[in-house]
Symmetry: C2
């Protein structure tokens, strides 16, 4: 239940050509406490509830628990969420042995594009595509929970 | 997903003879925000996650969403909870057409015994047993989430 991820800004839209799938995601937060975040997500026609713990010192590892839930229940739970939701499209791009998930944000977070890669260990190597920019792993400002309250356009 | 409940203090242990089942319950809170409480519960050998909304003006009705989850996951999520957990035994007693759930609290909430009854409407009538005391429906001090942070022995 520990997820190891690295997160980067994205410098161009070149990744779009390489994407094998994309999904609209709308999500809100029942709790934005960074030590125990509770997220409700609708991705395409599916609902999810996700609880994340505090990031490790390196920022790479974080407890994560997720369950798929019926779409209708996710819609009702979204209405219970704190103010501020996240609306984005997620593109998935295979680079070498890994899949990058690239989020293009809308609304109050328009202009922000971030890529994430999930790893099996904190030291695992991976191929870096040209469109990969500055690493922001562990920077809480780039947590979606933070962005839901402090959107990118207000930075 | 709306739960209608009334809650009472309990004046004697007479209910114990009438109980058809009892279960030890340990629970903690990922969020104690009364507008969107997130509870992790272990009841006997089963795990649950429950999200509750704000109480209605009368205090009788409240949004409630609950899912059973594997015991191991509930144990791991309990460790992520805020400080302050609730430990109690729940007795279930059938009175007429209804089931009362009576919670006998331990630890920092020792001495507190509360009964709850779930109703189909806010005006539904029900039989009141002798051991039923003062009604505390809607009194947030008697919410388990409140008790986890402000235990009964400190009142």
């Amino acid at each position: 239940m520990i997820e190891i991820e690295r997160k980067f800004l994205v410098t161009s839209t070149a990744f779009m050509d390489q994407a094998f799938v994309n999904n609209r995601i709308v999500q809100g937060y029942i709790s934005t406490d960074p030590d125990r975040t509770v997220r409700i997500r609708i991705k395409g026609e599916k609902g999810f509830i996700t609880i994340k713990g505090k990031g490790s010192e390196s920022g790479l590892s974080r407890f994560e628990w997720e369950k798929e839930i019926p779409l209708l229940e996710a819609q009702q739970l979204l209405q219970l969420c704190e103010k501020g939701s996240i609306d984005k499209t997620r593109f998935e791009v295979k680079i070498g042995a890994h899949v990058f998930e690239i989020d293009v944000f809308y609304g109050e977070n328009q202009g922000l594009v971030m890529a994430e890669i999930e790893l099996q260990s904190e030291v695992e190597a991976f191929e870096k595509p040209d469109w990969l920019g500055e690493e922001v792993t562990g920077d809480v400002r780039y947590y979606n929970a933070y962005l839901s309250k402090n959107p990118f356009l207000q930075w």
